[in-house]
């Protein structure tokens, strides 16, 4: 026990990759190793990058890595793409945008599939952060899957959430409807050469202006960028460091840490409960009970109530 953790603390990337895979398949061996590593962490600064499919998240991360490296900071990335709910397979295509850093030992990119998680991350994303943090990476970036209107798990896990939008993705109503607007610490209108980008940025600034002050008193910058041309990225970096500095104040940091721990705990509990439920439904439901529902002599409501009773 602890041999993987020891190797990881010594900087062994192979061991780190292995433990992330073990965490993804939720083996109990992983738990003990992660427990050790968690105690060594707490130093890395965490950045989340989210936004709709194809908005340019990976391209932006690639540009951010270059700039963070230029400042001498080491960077680890957990990049999440969706699993097929049918086959469990996935095509993980974020890393291909970041290959120019492939030879840089100060950069580690790990692609992860959602494996059934619905919040835009995977259940093991928090574990990947734990591992990178323990390895001593200065910055950990998490890229979510392409989000729609409700995948907001990223908020709990990171202290600076960058939300990418483009003027290509629908109108103003969609921008305000999307719950993901509430989660941004920094907003970036990417692909700014697309028509309507300035208008979009103006609209976002106005909507933000009308909102009540946030509890952490942070004002959300709205920036324009062309990630593929590396335009506007210095401003994004400045805004990010502004946010990280802001978080340094004790009261903010303790709130963030609490939120992070809660998010991690929720992700872990979620898996356990789903597994338990599956086992209950598959194993403990008596065939007669099923039959009764199928023949409409009783409903799924009472059956569900009985299952929940066993969970309590």
């Amino acid at each position: 026990m602890g041999s993987l953790a020891d190797a990881i603390l010594a900087g062994d990337r192979r061991a780190a990759g292995r433990l992330i895979s073990l965490a993804e398949s939720r083996t109990s061996d992983a738990r003990d190793e992660l427990e050790i590593l968690y105690r060594h962490g707490g130093h890395a600064r965490t950045i989340g990058v989210t936004g709709p499919p194809g908005a340019g998240k990976s391209t932006l991360v690639d540009g951010l890595i270059a700039r963070l490296r230029a400042r001498g900071l080491t960077v680890a990335v957990a990049a999440v793409d969706p699993s097929s709910p049918y086959s469990r397979g996935a095509v993980l295509g974020d890393r291909v945008r970041m290959m120019r850093h492939a030879d840089d030992a100060g950069v580690l990119v790990r692609s992860m599939a959602t494996r059934g998680a619905l919040g835009g991350l995977s259940a093991a994303t928090g574990d990947a952060i734990t591992i990178f943090d323990a390895m001593g990476f200065d910055i950990v970036i998490v890229e979510t899957v392409g989000v729609g209107q409700s995948e907001v798990d990223i908020v709990g896990h990171t202290e600076a959430v960058l939300l990418l939008q483009t003027a290509l993705g629908g109108d103003d109503v969609q921008a305000i409807k999307a719950g993901v607007l509430e989660i941004a610490d920094i907003m970036v209108v990417n692909k700014k050469s697309a028509p309507g980008s300035d208008r979009m940025a103006r609209f976002l600034r106005e909507s933000l202006h009308d909102r009540p002050l946030r509890p952490d008193a942070w004002t959300i910058p709205v920036l324009l960028a062309e990630a593929s041309e590396e335009t506007g990225l210095d401003e994004v970096i400045d805004a990010l460091f502004g946010r990280l500095d802001h978080n340094r104040q004790d009261t903010h940091m303790s709130a963030i840490r609490r939120r992070q721990a809660a998010a991690h705990l929720t992700a872990l509990a979620d898996v356990e409960i789903r597994t338990l439920m599956r086992r209950l439904i598959a194993g403990q439901t008596r065939p007669e009970a099923w039959q009764a529902v199928l023949e409409r002599r009783s409903g799924p409501y009472s059956l569900a109530a009985r299952l929940f009773e066993q969970l309590r």
Binding site: R14, G17, R18, G93, A102, G116
Partner: protein, 143 residues
């Protein structure tokens, strides 16, 4: 939040992680995109690296991504040399236990030399999809 994602699959069956990409100046990526898609549908996690990868970048990716195997697709004649370089680099960084699979236009005369280098599977033009999938699946390690 979780869905009932794994309900229909045996939970102890490992998900295979397969790195897929092209080295050097090869530019025929339609083939590997098709394979990537097929493997996804067969339940494999494909880490898609596209074209123009360096030997070093590919080898390092195999480690950082904890790949169960590395799949290379070739469309140019330089595949023997590229494969030799990749195998050597993987050995240098301690990743030589990760199996390598080749696809694309590979001449039968070269098969033995490639196998001798340590290549585990060769799927040239005309290979059956089912064979590729079966091979990739068989590379999963117990978790």
């Amino acid at each position: 939040m979780q869905t009932d994602f794994q309900a229909e699959q045996a939970e102890d069956q490992p998900i295979v992680r397969c790195l897929l990409g092209m080295l050097g100046t090869d530019v025929h990526s339609k083939g590997i995109r098709t394979i990537a898609q097929l493997l996804r549908e067969a339940g494999v996690e494909v880490i898609y690296l596209g074209e123009h990868n360096s030997v070093q970048g590919m080898a390092r990716a195999a480690i950082d991504e904890d790949a169960d195997l590395v799949g290379l697709s070739f469309s140019s004649a330089a595949y023997v040399e590229y494969t030799r370089q990749l195998v050597a680099e993987m050995k240098r960084i301690g990743a030589d236990d990760i199996p390598v699979m080749l696809g694309g236009i590979i001449h039968p005369d070269d098969h033995q030399a490639l196998y001798d280098m340590g290549v585990r599977g060769i799927f040239g033009a005309g290979s059956k999809t089912a064979d590729i999938i079966a091979f990739v699946r068989s590379m999963g390690r117990p978790r």
